[in-house]
Assembly symmetry: none
Homo-oligomer: 400 residues x 2
């Protein structure tokens, strides 16, 4: 946002900016006419809402339900339609792999080949444990193809991710997946001249994997799709002059944070682990992204009460975060995950912002309907980082 003027107005100081993201925080009203955030008892967030500014943000666009990638890129200040992260990258992030500029990341399925035809695209949904064993076998036999090194990591069930690392790899390839059963394997085809090498490497990988798996059943071949290289995305240090730390238990969110230039040390699974890391690193960074996953997970399960409890748990621990005295704190979600929908959704997401110079508006608690009355109005997710920088007095006057 405002890429053309940002370089002339961005400045630095010693303020601390904190972005606390409860994944899937937003909701829509249930049969009792309330959302999870409205039902939750959140005295600490409500006090911040009364003292600070509230609004609603639109993660990608009107009616658009964001995946985790677009949801976070928006929050991080990037236009999620302009900067798209392909499936392969998110799959690789999700299993904790690094993807560096130039790397080609791909989603893989184990599949079943019989008499020259793909008869099961998911190899009977083999269990994760078997997937790990097969991936170890592939890893042992396939380390390098031409000048390209090959990294493989098991995912859930029949899924895995591959990252090809070497020069001149393009993601402009057709899926090596017939999509329906009863068809022969489909090689990857280059969709542009610069993708010929990538197609050759990918197809060689499939051939080698099929040889390695020849005696296995039912997982005796692989399908590859969702090819993706990293988008060429300006990093936080360069774009915002911020040394940024990403704190997330789940590897996918660490991957997304790393994509924009945040440091992303590993951290334990609990909210306490995340807060401990935040406190430990407080003096070393300017900007802190803290990600809470489980609000989304409960929403996806349709577990209204579970989502309420996670929100309440975060609220109860909020004083530990506020003790650090961030100059500006934002609490929001990357999208809505209403438990009535059991899925991500397009609904606008509540947003709360408190700093020394934020307007104390009329919102009386942190909830969708109070946020609708807030001074911030409805804003695109991209705008949040701009408002944080402004509230931290890190943006100079534009024009004389």
């Amino acid at each position: 946002m405002y890429e053309e003027i940002l370089p002339q107005i961005i400045t630095t100081n010693d303020t601390k900016l904190l972005l606390l993201v409860l994944d899937g925080l937003g909701g829509t009203t249930n049969q009792d006419g309330v959302t999870e955030l409205e039902a939750a008892n959140t005295p600490n967030m409500d006090a911040l809402a009364r003292a600070g500014s509230c609004g609603l943000h639109l993660p990608v666009g009107y009616g658009i339900t964001p995946g985790s990638g677009p949801g976070h890129l928006g929050l991080f200040g990037y236009n999620p339609i302009k900067y798209q992260t392909g499936r392969g990258i998110l799959e690789a992030f999700g299993v904790g792999m690094h993807v560096n500029p130039g790397d080609l990341a791909v989603r893989g399925n184990f599949a079943t080949l019989k008499d020259g035809l793909i008869v099961d695209r998911r190899a009977g949904r083999i269990p994760t444990e078997l997937c790990r064993k097969l991936v170890a076998k592939l890893r042992e036999h396939i380390k390098q193809i031409e000048d390209v090194t090959v990294d493989i990591e098991a995912g859930k069930d029949y899924r895995f991710a591959v990252v090809f690392r070497g020069p001149d790899l393009s993601d402009k390839l057709s899926d090596a997946d017939p999509q329906i059963v009863g068809k022969p394997p489909k090689p990857a085809e280059p969709l542009a001249p610069e993708a010929e090498k990538a197609a050759r490497i990918v197809n060689k990988f499939i051939q080698m994997a099929t040889e390695v798996l020849a005696d296995e059943h039912p997982a005796n071949t692989v399908l590859l799709r969702g090819y993706a290289t990293l988008p060429d995305i300006p990093k936080y240090e360069e774009k915002y002059k911020l040394r940024a730390l990403g704190i997330a238990s789940y590897p996918m969110y660490r991957g997304l944070a790393k994509l924009v230039g945040m440091d992303t040390p590993p951290v334990g699974e609990t909210i306490d682990d995340e807060i401990a890391l935040l406190r430990e690193k407080w003096n070393d960074y300017d900007f802190f992204f803290v990600h809470i996953k489980k609000s989304d997970s409960y929403g996806e399960d349709g577990n209204f009460e579970g989502k309420v409890k996670i929100i309440e748990e975060v609220d109860a621990k909020l004083p530990q975060i506020l003790d650090l005295k961030p100059d500006i704190i934002v609490i929001t979600g990357d999208h809505a995950t209403p438990s009535v929908l059991k899925a991500h959704s397009w609904h606008p997401v509540p947003l709360l912002m408190k700093g020394r110079y934020t307007f104390a508006d009329d919102a009386q608690k942190f909830s969708e309907r109070e946020c609708a009355k807030g001074i911030l109005g409805h804003i695109p997710a991209e705008a949040i980082i701009m408002l944080m920088l402004a509230a931290a007095v890190r943006l100079l006057k534009f024009g004389a």
Copy 2:
């Protein structure tokens, strides 16, 4: 809107979407501080407002007063600045003519020619009945020019519309109208090389019409302007995967609906006729646009009470529409027509949306000031169809 990502997220299901447009619904406050919608007694719309989501929409842009064309194209989900429908097309639609791709539609005036000069650009504002007679005479004598067939239809008073149908017709022509009296007739001139044929045809038409009308008085010649071919607009079936039905008593709105690919059967003049058609066709379509004209007409007449009564009439009949159980219903206007202005205006337009997954916000009735408190906020008209599709679960998640 979001044209680059829509094809990857649009999907289908068996939901029914209903867009009820009260033309010119929006208002501004009168001397008593209320709008027509605020003054109207609308228990059914108010109940929907309480149960659903409210907001305000901006038809074209801040401060922009839309004509009927841009007002509806915005509601239909098209950027009304990008997709402009020329005057000739709206004139032809207004008199119930079909305009097909490649056709050149033109507005005509009967005028008075004396001693080689245009002495009255409206031929003494001849009555509609005479206009019809003269158009019948022109129609009889001018059926074809070169390989172009000519369709003529009378409008109100001295106005008529012509549609030229044939190959290679461009609308890049100057008006064949001197604009002020006391000047000689002005032929159409091509404004681009590809418009030479169209200029020749149009000028031939004027010459032939002037010959046919030689013995008439005062309508003894014609002026032609507002040349327009159809904009190349993606249709509903292709863009939104919706089988759409447009229900409108007035031909102009059927024309606009047809422009975006809706079926537009003829319908009687009353709201009851429109509802009867809606009920009859309910099983055959996914999307229904129902247009109520008279709210705008009364606004334009400065008849506050008349506009209030039409709104109340629609409200009283709303249960018949709700009985059909649309999965998502939107009630709004294409623009404001405040009776204090006696004209279309730029004011934001109240918007109400109710479906299974819409947020039950704090708006207590359907009115401008309650809509300003709604969860939807202020949105561009283009966003409405996106929110309808989302609420009908017809948009897939964007990105992983």
